[in-house]
Structure formats: C-alpha cells, structure tokens
Amino acid sequence: MLLLPKFDYYEPKELTEACRLLSETGSKAKIIAGGTDILVNMKKGLISPKVLVSLGRISRLSEVERMNKSITIGSHLIIAKLAEFDLIRKRFSILASAAKVLGSPLVRNRATIGGNIVTARPAADLPPVLMALGAKVKLKSRRSEREVALDDFFIGPGATVIKPDEILTRVIIPETPSYTGGHYIKLGHRKALEIAIVAVASKITLNKPDGVIKDAKIVLSAVAPKAVHAKSAEEVLIGEKPSAKLFEEAASLAMNDCKPITDIRGGVDYRQAMVEILTRRTLSFAWKEAKKGKKQ
C-alpha cells in the first residue's frame, strides 16, 4: 500500500493567484492538474512537494479558442474532451486520434493536455503529434510570459525547460495549410490501457494534390529519452513527389534518427524495426489525407 505524503493544497480561481502561490512557495510547490502522474509519483516517494496548486478551478484553462491562424487549448482540458471538440477532430485529427488511445477511460477523464506534456514521459501520446503539428506552449509566471516551441521544450525523461515558478497555460497549434494530412500510430500489445512500445506521428503538406511535398514532420516516440524528429527522414521528403519508394527511403532513414533501449516493453531491435514500419505506414496514410484537398 502506497501512502500519499502530507501536503498543502490550493485551488485558486485565477491564474494570477496560481502564479503568485507558485512564486511564493518556490521549489516546494508543484502544479497538479489531473493528478494521474504526480500523485502516483508522490505515493512512490519519487517527489515530495509540500504544496500542490490545482488548476482545476481556473475555467479559462479548460477552453479551446480559435485565434488568428491558430487554435489555443487551455492546459487543463481533459484528454477525454480533447477528442470531442469538432474543431480538433476536423482540423487536427491526429491530435484527436492520439487522445483517444491515451491510457484508459478512467485516465482520460482526469488527465489533461498540459499534464501529458509537462510530465515529459518518453512514451507519452500527445507530445509526438503536437510536435508534428508544430505546436508551441505558453509558459506563465508571476512576472513573465513566454512561448516555447514544443520541439525545444523537452530535455529528457521528466525534464523540460519549464522553470519552477512557471505554469504551462496554453498549447498553441498553428492552422495547417491546405493539402495537409497526418497520421499517428501507437504500437502496443493491447487496444486499450496501453503504453506505446513505439509510436510515430507524421504530417505532410503538398503544394497541390498531385504535387511535391512542401513540408514534412515525422516524430518518433518511446525510442529516445524524449519524442524526437526523424530529421534525416523529414529532409529527404521535402521537395520530392510522394511515392511508396520515397516513403521507404524516409522510413529507413528514420531508423537511425532514434536511440531506443531495451526494457520490459520491448527490445532495441524490435523498436528500431518498428520505427521503420510505422514511419512508412503513417506517411502513406498522411499522403492519402493530404491529397484529399483543401481544408474547410
């Protein structure tokens, strides 16, 4: 039986109040969102914050807003809701599909988009698709506010550039251009309650339906200390006409863009082989999507 250590708990209604609490208590405080990760880690004795500041009552943090050429998602939006928004389902379908395969219904009803990012787990479901979509996060402290591209946000397992007094408040995703398609595949043993052995998110944009690839993003998950771009694979695609052969070449390059380890969930060789397969499959699907045409 794991015991939860004692701590003080705050539920501010305003973001400024949350920032104040965080700055005043310094490194002793932690933000709690869904609690699916932090409470477990506290029970295991891995961390022992003296103060937990909940974002649950700050209503704006659960809202999705459409901005100029982007959408912004409040960091406290729960995963189950993420897949329900029409806007997200239609325009960022890979985000919706990643949200649907995250954990179990119980976890999805508590865990939040912000939590899935800041915990920086190497096999988390949302970071790879958000990176493929070119997302940024907004980090707010009592005195400052800054935006960081998700590509620059993660350092390693559990480590990010966020400072102790900063709160991840919003996730900003740029609108995708026309002729863009994407796909996310999470490989596990089961269809539910699963953590990825390997996951790949791909997104490509064509200059016209039967044209060349204007932009390509391939993000690999669970095969490095953090989600990583398959850079050499992305590069080989740009300016080229899509074809099965091209995707094979990219997939093969992607294998060398990661550094998997062997653990109880999978071996190095298998993971590396799966990077190739999933890269190829996500690209083929993304191409089909991209050809479909203009975004509405």
Binding site: M1, L2, L187, R190, A192, Y270
Partner: protein
C-alpha cells in the same frame, strides 16, 4: 434430449444485479467493530539471510497494536510440503517472503509502521532458473535438503514407448516452454480473523476451499496453543478465484496471529500490487515432447519430459503434473505413453493452481507437436485429429473410462464453422489452426472424498432454501444449483434461495476445483431435491387422494398426473405438515460423492466419472511487418454433456477463451532475478474488453449418464486448447512456429526474419 422448463434455459446469473449495482459485499467492504488492519513487510531480496530485525520504532507509533516477526511467533509451517512459515526467520527465499507484520487502527498507520521496521540482510546468490537450480554445485535453497528438485516422483508409464518408437513410421520431437501467468482476480485477496471470548475463530475469507481451509486453520491453532476450538469460515462475495484460492496463505495465518495477539478482529487485504507479487500463479514449464505414428497416422506413442519452476515454496503448483498426465495419456488415443516431470525450487515466487491446473501447459506442447507430426506426415492435421479422436466406451492408457465423448463432433463443428478446407494452407498471411482438450468433467478424486453435501428445507409458502457446500466464486454455481432444484421441485427458480458461504450452516464440500461444481454439487442438490419431493408427495397423497407415484409438482401446484383437477398448492401441504398433530418439518439432506477413483501408485485410475472434451479453431491474420496477430474468428466447441444454463455456459467459454488468448499472446509475469517487473495492469498484458475477438461458442450436448440432467464440467476447459490453436494458426499463416509462450509480436518478427535468412527451406519438424 428432453426439454425442461428451468434446466436448459438462459436464466441470468443471479448474483449479477448486486454486483453491477455495487451492493455486493466483498471482503473489501467488510468492517467489524473494533477491527484492526494488518499489513505485511516483504523481503528486500530474493535470497538472503536475515541478520537482525528491529521493530521497536514501529511498536511505538501511535495506533500500532502489534508487531510480529518470524522470531516471536510459534514455529509453524503450511502448504503442501509444510515448507512455508507465515513469517520467515533465518533465510528469505523469495521477494514475496513475509518478514514482519503489523496490526494498527488504520491501514495507513500499519503501512507507516512497516516503513519503520529495520531489517538487516546478508544477500545470498539466488537461483532463478530451474535448470541452473538442478546443476551440480548450485546452492541448495531449503536447509536440510540435498537437492533443489522436489521429492515428487511424477512418472507415468503406459505400454512400451521404446518399442513403439521402433515401430513408428514417423516421429517428431521438439521442446516447448511456457511462462508464469497469474489469475488477475478482480477482487484482491483478503480476510478478517476474529476470535470470540472462548478463542473460537471466525475467518471471513474468500477461499475456494472453506472446509479444507477450516482444517488448515485448526492445525495452525493447535500449534499456536489453542486446542480443540471451533473454526467457522464465512465467505464474502468472492471476486474471482481461478484456482488462486485453493490453498491457505501466509496472510491468513498472519491475520490469525495478529488477532490472537491483539484480541481484536484483524483484516489483511491485498493491494493490487501485492496481488501480483504475493499470490501464487501458474508456473513456467519446459517440455520436451515426441510423438510417433503409423503410416496411416494412428498415434503410437507420446513421450514427454517436463521441468516445472516450483518457486521458493510448495503449494498445489507442485501437483499439477498429476493433471497434466490426463491430456498426456488420454488426449487422443495413444497406446504408449511416458511422462516424467520434475518440480524445482528456485528463488522465484511459488506456484499454485490456476484454471486448467497444468493442462494448458501440457496441451500447448501436445497440440503443437501434433501439427508438426501431421506436417511431417504430409497429412491434414484435422484428419490426423479425427483419426485419433477419443470415443465413447474407450478405456485410456491411464485407465480413464470414457463414457460420453463428443470430441469428434467438436473437431467437425470447428472445421465446418472455420471453413478449414477452404482456408487451411491457402491465404498466406492468414491462417487457421485448431487444438482439442480433455479435462475432468465428472469431478476429480484428488482427495479421499470428492463429495458435496446439500440440505434443503422449504418454508410455509413454498420458498426453498438450499444449503450447499459448494462455493460461488463468480462461476455461477448458485444459479445452476437453483435451476436444478427448481426443476425437480416444480417451483419457480426465483423461489429457490441458495446459501453457500458459512461452514456453521452449510454441509461439507471438498472445494471449488476441477470444474466439479455443476457435476458434483449439482448431483448433490438433485439428490436432496428428489428426497424432499418424495416427502412432499407422500404427505400430499393423503390430502389429494392419489398415490405419490401419480403426483407431480409444477409452478408450485401439486397435482395428479392422472387427473389435473385433483390438485393442491404446495404451500398448503407444507403448512399442514407441521400445523397438525404429530406434525413434521420437511427437510432433506443428501451427500453425493461420485464413483471416481484416486490414482494408484502408478498414477492410474478413473480420476473422474466423466470427461469433458472440446476443440478450438482460430483464424488469424499476422502482420508480417510488426508481428502482430489479429484473431479474425474464434470457434470454441465444447462437449458439456448438457447445458444447464446455455447463457452462463457461453460466459465460461468467452471468459476461458479470453484468458487463453492472453496466455497465448500477451500475458507474462516478467521476473528479473526473482523480482516481478510488471506488478500492475499497465504492464501485465491481460486483455481488455476492447481486445475481445469474435468468439463463437458451440455447445455440443452428449447427455452424460452420470451428470445432473446430463451435464459435465466447463469451468476450466475454455482456456486449455487456446494457445496451441493460435500457435498452429500462426504457423499456417506465415510458416513460423513459436514454441515459447507468449507469442509476442517481437518473437514473431524475429522468427520471420530468421526464416527469411534461411530462405524458404525453414520447415519444421525435421
């Protein structure tokens, strides 16, 4: 076969409403005034010497009422070999070894106190592989023993295998292995031990063996200095058993010891992590097997050698070879059989019974090997199975007397429904496979008695109380027993109440094991119901004016079968029985003990009155890139004698099938040097509702002459042939045979790559 108004009907499981509405009282929910909470401190190492234990700080924590260790309890050992003390002193032999225990006013305080107990260990080299444990010079785990091999001479010899080998036209030989898997009961283990002022013990428990556990507790109390007291076992609603609760465990004795010391009721309840780490699962096995047959494909011999990882202590897991002998000697007709098994101590967790009781491990080797034999013979494996299928009237080499047997029908049903001829060996990437099973279906004489008692009484209004020794562990025995009694007595099934959870109230039963409850408890209930019906008709005959043999009961009305106008309500007869001078209460008891046999010293004898058969057929698709297996179609044909309740029977088949699919493809207790790496549902890959493939149960009814209304057991068979059926289908799909369970995508991909390297010459069985 006859149709009946209650037996054979799809009646909903009667405990379902309270379970789905949350009103069922599990051990988790039970609270007794003054109750304390016990927690157990486990070892830090898989093999170590305990140098010192300091409990002083824990004892001083407010709320802590008792702290016990192996150094301050009476010397007592439990288990099949009596090799397991509830709290260890001297040495620990596995990560789950209990070192100390605390009773406190809350589980949180008890847990906090555990953290304050200082144990000093001297780590010893561990042995985690049974083959290494058998090697010369390997450290001996149990002091006083000369070898890590258990003194259990599992050896079955039927006919003459050596001669049969010489006479065989075709022989295959290979090695198969299986992994550790665990029951995953949704209700975790727990108990409350409570002594009254006279030291009589009441154990609230979720055991599958209330009457054998009672005996175990009495033995323990004798050692603890409490002699000649009464032990009462009361079961809460049990959240699954699957064999896990066929023994008594350290935590139960710890609860008793803590209750004795504190003079308060003490509850010990496992967390999910403890359930994974500290309950006793199905052991891993390594099996060498060879089969030989004639030119026509008639089996001539089967030879098997098996090594079982017993783990650190000995529970019923060590006796699973006795059940493995059943498929080894009697699955298909095979005249010459040799089987030798060794159970070996290691520093892993220790093994116990689990649904199938060894049969899945043995059947995986047998049915995989048969497909290899068919291929080497150039035969269709379906034909090979049909040629050798068991038949009614057969006496098997182990002296099983086969009565009802629908094995051929099962094989044929599967072949037809899976389109065997159309699909086998055709569409590459997709494949079909099948495997069959034999299991005890008419009880199993494991102990001196295989009996079950029933008492029936009926109240003044025709409502029936059935007191049975048989436990409900979720399998549906309450519903089946109610149906049988309702059928005999001619009352509504809703009017039959089943009481089955209290040794003070219910008669004796040997336990919920060996798929025996419908057969044995069903026959017992049937006997009691017939007896009380005789009494009722006898009394009614006077008031109706008709001879008892011409009376019957339907829907609570007693009537003359000659003239239906001559009738009287059941309740009225029952009331008059005691509201009269010289009156009597209507009650009946019946003890049924099937006419089966214990094994003799050579492990031969008719273990069960009848045998259950079945065949599973699977169509799979294998993703050659990822190694993932998708089950497209799953046919599970079972000879059940008769379905007392087809809906619940299908439930057993779905549940067994899914458990079997997990065994085949994903479940694995991942031990690293004795430490379980995946003690949670995230990393222990029990399949979820979303993974359920389309399972099609096929009920084959053979109307067994000894079964209640013709029924045989079905509790365990559902998972027995699953893994080999899937392995055979994978071979048909992509030409690789995985001989080591579970068949993970990683293993498949590796085998596919190796096959590619070898070229297309990589055929098996050569």
């Amino acid at each position: 076969m006859d149709n009946f108004p209650v037996v054979g009907q799809r009646i909903p499981k009667r405990d379902a409403p309270q379970k789905v509405t949350g009103s069922a009282i599990y051990i988790q929910d039970l609270k007794i005034p003054g109750m304390l909470y016990g927690k157990i401190l486990y070892s830090k190492y898989p093999h170590a010497r305990i140098l010192a234990i300091d409990t002083s700080r824990a004892e001083q924590l407010p709320g802590v009422k008792a702290v016990i260790t192996g150094y301050n309890i009476p010397p007592f050992k439990f288990g099949f070999f009596k090799d397991n003390p509830p709290l260890k002193s001297g040495k620990v032999l596995s990560m789950r070894d209990e070192v100390a225990a605390v009773a406190a006013t809350s589980p949180e305080i008890a847990e906090e106190a555990l953290e304050m107990i200082q144990v000093e260990y001297e780590e010893l080299p561990g042995i985690f592989d049974p083959i290494q444990a058998m090697q010369e010079g390997a450290p001996i785990l149990h002091e006083g023993l000369k070898s890590n091999v258990l003194k259990l001479p599992w050896r079955l010899i039927c006919g003459d295998v050596d001669t049969a080998k010489k006479e065989s036209h075709c022989i295959v030989e290979d090695t198969f292995s299986t992994q550790w898997v665990t029951h995953c009961c949704l209700g975790t283990s727990g108990c409350v031990a409570s002594f009254d002022i006279n030291n009589n013990l009441t154990m609230y428990s979720n055991t599958q063996i209330p009457y054998l556990a009672q005996r175990d507790y009495i033995d323990a109390l004798n050692v603890f200095g409490i002699k000649n007291r009464k032990v009462r076992v009361i079961q809460c609603i049990i959240g699954g058993g699957f064999g896990s609760k066929l023994d008594t465990y350290a935590y139960e004795y710890i609860a008793i010891l803590l209750a004795l010391k504190t003079r308060k009721p003490v509850k010990v309840l496992f967390t999910r992590e403890e359930e994974f780490i500290a309950t006793s699962p199905r052991q891993s096995t390594i099996t060498k097997i060879s089969h030989g047959c004639t030119k026509e494909g008639k089996l001539l011999f089967r030879e098997m050698e098996m090594i079982l990882d017993n783990g650190a202590y000995t529970s019923w897991g060590a006796t699973t070879p006795s059940v493995m002998m059943m498929p080894i000697s009697s699955l298909y007709k095979v005249p010459n059989v040799k089987y030798i098994a060794k159970c070996v101590y290691t520093n892993n967790t220790y093994s116990q019974a689990m649904r199938g009781y060894g049969n899945p491990q043995a059947t995986f080797a047998i049915e995989s090997s048969l497909d290899q034999l068919a291929e080497k013979m150039g035969m269709d494996s379906y034909e090979l199975r049909l040629i050798n299928a068991n038949e009614p009237g057969e006496i098997t080499p182990q002296n099983f007397k086969v009565t009802s047997c629908g094995m051929k029908e099962c094989i044929e049903e599967v072949a037809k429904r899976i389109d065997w001829k159309g699909k086998r060996g055709k569409d590459k990437g997709r494949g079909v496979g099948m495997a069959s099973l034999i299991h005890v279906g008419g009880g199993a004489r494991v102990y001196k008695s295989d009996g079950c008692g029933t008492i029936i009484k009926i109240d003044d209004y025709g409502k029936v109380d059935v007191f049975t020794g048989a436990s409900e562990i979720g399998q549906g025995s309450e519903t089946v027993i109610a149906q049988i009694v309702a059928e005999v007595l001619g009352v509504n099934v809703e009017d039959v109440n089943v009481i089955n959870n209290d040794t003070d109230v219910c008669p004796w039963d040997v336990g919920v094991h060996a798929s025996r409850t419908t057969f044995v408890a069903g026959n017992s209930a049937l006997g009691a119901a017939k007896k009380i019906k005789e009494q009722i008709l006898e009394i009614a005959s006077k008031s109706i004016g008709e001879a008892p043999e011409h009376l019957d009961i339907q829907k609570g009305l007693i009537f003359s079968t000659k003239d239906k106008e001559k009738n009287t309500p059941l309740g009225k007869v029952l009331r008059n029985a005691h509201y009269s001078t010289g009156g009597k209460m209507l009650m009946a008891e019946y003890f049924y003990d099937p006419a089966n046999e214990n094994f003799d010293k050579d492990f031969k004898g008719n273990l069960s009155v009848s045998y259950a058969y079945g065949t599973h057929g699977v169509e799979v698709e294998v993703d050659r890139d990822t190694g993932r297996v998708t089950i497209l179609k799953y046919i599970a044909a079972h000879d059940v004698g008769r379905a007392i309740n087809p809906m619940m029977l299908e439930g057993q088949i779905y549940g067994g099938g899914l458990m079997g699919i997990g065994y085949a493809l994903s479940e694995n207790m991942n031990f690293r040097e004795g430490r379980l790496m995946n003690p949670n549902f995230l990393d222990y890959k029990m399949l979820t509702a979303k993974d359920v493939p389309p399972v099609e149960p096929v009920i084959v009814e053979t109307n067994d002459k000894d079964g209640p209304f013709g029924a045989k057991g079905i509790g365990e068979p559902g998972l027995v042939p699953t893994a080999p059926a899937i392995a055979n289908a994978i071979y048909d799909a992509v030409g690789i045979r995985i001989k080591d369970l579970p068949i993970t995508p990683e293993k498949i991909l590796k085998a596919l790559k190796e096959k590619e390297k070898r070229g297309q010459s990589g055929e098996e069985g050569k």
